[in-house]
Symmetry: C2
Subunit: 344 residues, 2 copies
């Protein structure tokens, strides 16, 4: 039973008061150098570690960023690889700023009474700010959280509130660029497999597709727009439908890499070769994309950058910087690999 060293014990050992110890440790100037040194030395020897709880109680700062992370219906959370990479960037950024991440898991905070509530969970742990990943912006509880005065950053979702900032990729521009790539290769029959359209990225990528198709002077065909849900299986089904068309497309823009990979498989199953018979471009550039067969051409999202931007925004707002643009859009990049080629 090793007792935790408290500031009181450290004070006794140093022969000074707890107040002095606190000031010495926190870098106040009005402490005699030799006193400080003695205290610091003893702190090291006794392996003193301040209690975050006690400190946050008095300073009203927890140095903790909360994370609400879920993905849609039917998909247990933490599933989409995209979110994890974003989380990695967030972790790195807030870590360098001296913050840790609290991944909310329990739905019954505190005394366990009352309904499920994001705001309550955030308040309970006195987080200094929160990152919102994969939440439903229309959820009343999300809106309630957004109305509070706690710094918030929403990733890939629309949200507004007194202290919320939104971070997302240039989904519309990226989608247009993807279609442009296909068009430049010579494709004229270009279809798309959409993501969930009630999500901002899903809607934006479809919008980008539309804009690019029209800009290219191609006819916009309803049957070239098939709905998916960002996951692989939906990409496969959508591609099957597309290939069954009387006049099937020669190229497909899938709104996610996962769906693109599903589409490649669907093509293989009917004996079509990618990219010789069918070009497929994805969106995300997940880690596996360079390694699938064929290597996937895709629009790369700067996932670490997204998380980093979120962390940066949070840190700035926690520090009191309130005049910040409520929206930060990160550029995407065309990565040409082996799944696209000129039409046969």
């Amino acid at each position: 039973m090793e007792e935790r060293t408290t500031i009181k014990a450290l004070a006794k050992a140093s022969g000074v008061s707890v107040g002095t110890v606190s000031r010495a440790l926190n870098g106040y100037t009005d402490v005699r150098p030799e006193t400080r040194e003695r205290i610091m030395r003893l702190a090291r020897e006794l392996d003193y570690t301040p209690a975050a709880a006690a400190r946050s109680l008095v300073t009203q700062r927890s140095h903790i960023i909360g994370v609400f992370m879920e993905t849609g219906e039917g998909h247990p959370d933490l599933q989409h690889p995209f979110f994890h990479e974003v989380l990695g960037g967030l972790k790195q950024q807030v870590g360098s700023g001296g913050f840790d991440l609290l991944l909310f898991a329990s739905e019954r905070p505190g005394n366990g009474y009352g309904p499920h509530s994001y705001l309550k969970r955030a308040r309970h742990h006195s987080v200094d700010g929160c990152a919102l990943i994969g939440l439903e912006p229309d959820d009343p509880e999300v809106r309630r959280l957004a109305r509070a005065d706690i710094p918030l950053v929403a990733i890939d979702m629309d949200l507004d509130g007194p202290a919320v900032e939104v971070v997302m990729s240039d989904n519309e521009g990226g989608a247009a660029q993807a279609v442009g790539h296909l068009h430049a290769l010579g494709h004229r029959r270009i279809a798309t497999i959409t993501g969930m359209l009630d999500s901002r990225p899903g809607a934006d990528r479809l919008r980008g597709y539309r804009a690019a198709v029209q800009a290219a002077g191609l006819a916009y065909r309803d049957d070239y727009v098939v709905y998916g849900d960002f996951y692989a299986e939906s990409g496969r089904e959508a591609c099957e439908r597309l290939l069954a068309l009387a006049e099937p497309p020669t190229a497909i823009f899938a709104a996610s890499d996962l769906m693109a990979i599903g589409a490649i498989r669907a093509a293989a199953e009917v004996g079509l070769r990618v990219p010789e018979d069918l070009s497929i471009i994805g969106f995300d550039d997940i880690q596996l994309s360079p390694h699938v067969n064929p290597p996937l051409t895709t629009m790369r999202q700067d996932k670490l950058g997204l998380g980093g931007a979120a962390g940066e925004a949070l840190i700035a707002r926690v520090a009191g910087d309130a005049d910040r643009s409520p929206l930060r859009t990160l550029p995407v990049e065309l990565i040409v690999r082996g799944s696209t080629a000129p039409p046969a």
Copy 2:
């Protein structure tokens, strides 16, 4: 500036003392029913949320499980998809037990003095327990943490200490089963691409391979054992080397799906078809495995189950249950898909 409702404000509103409020909320029996109801109602109206910091200060329980998660050298953390799925299972399990997860990000906890230290970070936040994912068991700081009396669960790594429990898959048995599957299909020239051998799973899977090869009466050939690091690129390179052999294998057991996928690609690049010309089996069953081309035959690890078992262990030990087996091994399952077939 909405003021946070404190227990004091709630007491004043209810016309009772804070002590009574606390007892009412915490379900003590010695509170008059009508008093309790009034308090509960007001708590709801004022949207009262207890402060975790204050509570943990007095109860010595934070209801927080810390998570140290990193992956090896050169690979920025949070990269391997396997770990994320484990994290998902952990999150779910501890959440249902009323705990939240603290993802350690900052390397300078507290006053920022002193060296990097896992133990210090854990103590600083008074976590009730910790999950260790992807750490180096030989790291002196890890050992120091393990010696402490705080409940620990190590995932996929060897570690011992007064309160540490280890959770991992049956890597050795699974590897043997994978090789057995290949052998049963008729393969006799079976090679392996290993993971990092300084990791417990990497070493165990190689051991399982060896055991199965010998059990099958096949000759153990050094040139059929190529070293990888679990990631895709290493699988690709290893497979290239294998295929360049004078007598190349007809089947490969890759110690991870990522490497198996890299291997498939290497085969494709030299014009070999999988599984017709070369069978490949992986290990993990990551989310993409069913969707790659061809769908990957693999040994499925119960990733959610791993995380869940870790969470369960942590919760039990935090509750004081100390007589628990220090090791929990979860079974793996052969998933036959399209990347293995009888030799030509």
